[in-house]
Amino acid sequence: MISNQTIKNSIDKLKSITKIDFSVWDLEGYIVASTQAKESVGSETVVQFAQSPADSQELQGFHFFKIRGEEEPEYILIARGSGEDVHMIGRIAVSQLQDLIIAYRERFDRNNFVQNLLLDNLLLVDIYNRAKKLHIEPQLRRTVFIIETKHERDNSAMEVIRSLYGSEEGNLITEVDEKSIILIQALDEKAVYEDLEDTAATIRDTLNTEAMIDVRVACGTIVDEISQVSRSFKEARMALNVGKIFYSGQRVHMYNTLGIGRLIYQLPENLCRMFIKEVFTKQQPEEFDEETLSTIKMFFGNSLNVSETARQLFVHRNTLVYRLEKLSRSTGLDIRSFDDAVTFKIALMVENYLKYLEKHS
């Protein structure tokens, strides 16, 4: 809804142009905003005018006007002075304030609608009815980006996102919690996932450089209907969570490229614990020393290539082979074989996931 400060700013600007003092009152006779330090009109006079059928009236050297939201009066505007000119300027002020009230209401309604849409709080029939009322195209290619800021309530991030994407037709921007900005982007027919990844990178880089804040950007899949937007939002949320656990060094997380991490994220915790117990019957992953861990990571990073891993670790090939055999003896898994390597890799990811759960429980 429109704030008193916005009304104050508006009448201050009008005064600076017209040199006429204005005040805005609610229907119960309480002052909302004024350009003067002291009011010469009594509260009772305002209430009497509010209850009268007149739309405007000249009383005691003041022009009184009713400001209507859609139908019903919502505020009373008083312009100081008498005569035609003041009356005309008063009407202009009323017109401006009415437009502002309607615009703010629509924005609030849109925001409210979008938030409920994302959180699945609307019936299917309501989604289409309300979208139509709010002039939101129901059939349009869209995707959802979640922009998570490091700190809560970072207004500069919202300003940047609104300035970048707010003016594009079809885009919707809102917040669902203290740290997340949601951008529902309208896409053209040709948009593909590479384009979305570019957009996510642009959001990250622009917020880094302009607002100077660290952010993570996650993106759901492309949907064609307004009713499917919540699905894209949930996917983006999952991408964000999975990204934080398994790809913590990255800042852009695309749902469609999450890979095996997405699968592990959806496994029940007890199943994960059972899996770890079954795989690591001898030595547990937390018992691995740093050298073993870096060897394993480098070996996986080099697609199980012994020579290349040895080169990158600055060790002799035989040293690496010795380390891998030692690992095989202590875990029962020889990661030089593809099957064991897959089991080991998944087990390490599951272990990571369990650590994350413990930390956040």
């Binding site: 970048l164 003016s167 607002a211």
Partner: protein, 367 residues
């Protein structure tokens, strides 16, 4: 402007991955320093730690005399230009440049002064009223630079700022950035994976690989005196040729069937003093140090015989591609050469320019 000090900086992610390992560097005031290396080598992570966008796991980072490990990015007195910049589409160039200052609640008159000064530096004065749509790619890039300049920072951080531009514009903007550095007299840290950008822009280059600093030196020294096999191979295009060679008892290099290389006395001594006689080392020679001029070949006692597999004329020079002992080789020769695909060619090796590396440690034995 300011100096920077990175002391034993490490970055370890929660999953145990070490992205940056014991990074040490002193950056002087007004220096243009380049972080270069292949994808995933930790150069962007290091830059992001300097920016404050990534937490430092251990080590100390100073900007000037102030330790800034726990200082928020906006309070570090830095400005950044990153790869995927976006201009605000409905704002003019002026407003685009002023936007971050407005966010910081800078007074209007100060904003105006800073924007106009930056526009003057970047030659954008006549474009201040234009919207981004009406700008060329190069002009947009300059506006992105302008957004950093208006902050009047101590240090500029640039992460592959030219990567999204086409080749022609990239060359043009490279020159612009170089001029900008001279005009601003600023300290700049610039990340790139493009060694040409690194060589042309930097006063010093930090070569990185797998989170480790391989070498820090001037472009000229990196090219002429690489400290290890990785730097030797990474810097230079086409890259340095490498051949396994056995060190002879007199300090020469035996290339097997490909021939022998007689090294200058100083280089031979280093090999013998290092106990390399009889051991296998890696010989490195740059493509321009292989000469097919018959007169030079006749005088040389270090010659390679090769059959040309590909002939590439580039106008001012010719690249000849061939294989020796199973290794792919390139020679950069005079365009007047008679060599063509299929020709049998003798190349004289400029032994003064030969590099020798330890095969196991990959460190340079002699340059």
């Amino acid at each position: 402007m300011a100096s920077l000090s990175l002391e034993h900086i490490c970055k370890v992610y929660p999953n145990g991955f070490e992205a940056v390992k014991d990074f040490n560097l002193e950056i002087a005031d007004k220096e243009f320093i380049i972080f270069v290396g292949p994808s995933g080598c930790g150069k962007s992570t290091t830059l992001r730690m300097v920016a404050g966008l990534e937490e430092i796991s251990s080590g100390t980072l100073k900007i000037g005399d102030r330790v800034v490990n726990d200082v928020e990015p906006k309070d570090r007195d830095i400005a950044m230009v990153f790869q995927s910049y976006a201009l605000y589409p409905h704002m003019t160039v002026y407003d685009n440049m002023a936007f971050s200052l407005k966010l910081r609640k800078t007074p209007k008159d100060q904003i105006d002064k800073m924007v106009r000064e930056a526009a003057k530096i970047l030659d954008l004065e006549k474009l201040l009223d234009r919207k981004p749509k009406a700008l060329s790619g190069g002009q947009r890039q300059r506006v992105a630079m302008g957004r950093a300049i208006v902050r009047n920072p101590k240090v500029f951080l640039m992460d592959e700022p030219l990567s999204n531009l086409d080749a022609k514009l990239r060359v043009q903007m490279r020159t612009e950035i170089s001029k900008l550095h001279q005009r601003l007299g600023a300290t700049i840290i610039y990340v790139t994976h493009d060694q040409t950008e690194a060589m042309t822009l930097g006063t010093r280059i930090v070569v990185m690989k797998d989170g480790v600093v391989m070498q820090v030196d001037t472009p000229q020294n990196l090219y002429n005196k690489p400290a290890n096999l990785f730097t030797a191979g990474f810097i230079g295009s086409p890259q340095m040729n490498f051949l396994d060679a056995k060190v002879t008892p007199d300090g020469g290099l035996d290339l097997g069937q490909a021939g022998k290389v007689t090294l200058p006395a100083e280089k031979a001594k280093k090999l013998l003093d290092g106990g390399y006689a009889g051991k296998t080392v890696v010989m490195g020679v740059r493509p321009e140090h292989l000469n097919d001029d018959p007169e030079v070949v006749a005088k040389s006692n270090s010659v390679l015989d090769a059959k040309i597999e590909v002939y590439e004329l580039l106008g001012a020079e010719v690249f000849l591609y061939f294989t020796i002992n199973g290794a792919n080789m390139t020679a950069r020769v005079n365009p007047k050469t008679d060599a063509r695909t299929g020709s049998e060619v003798k190349f004289a090796i400029d032994v003064d320019k030969v590099h020798v590396f330890d095969k196991e440690t990959e460190q340079t034995i002699t340059n």
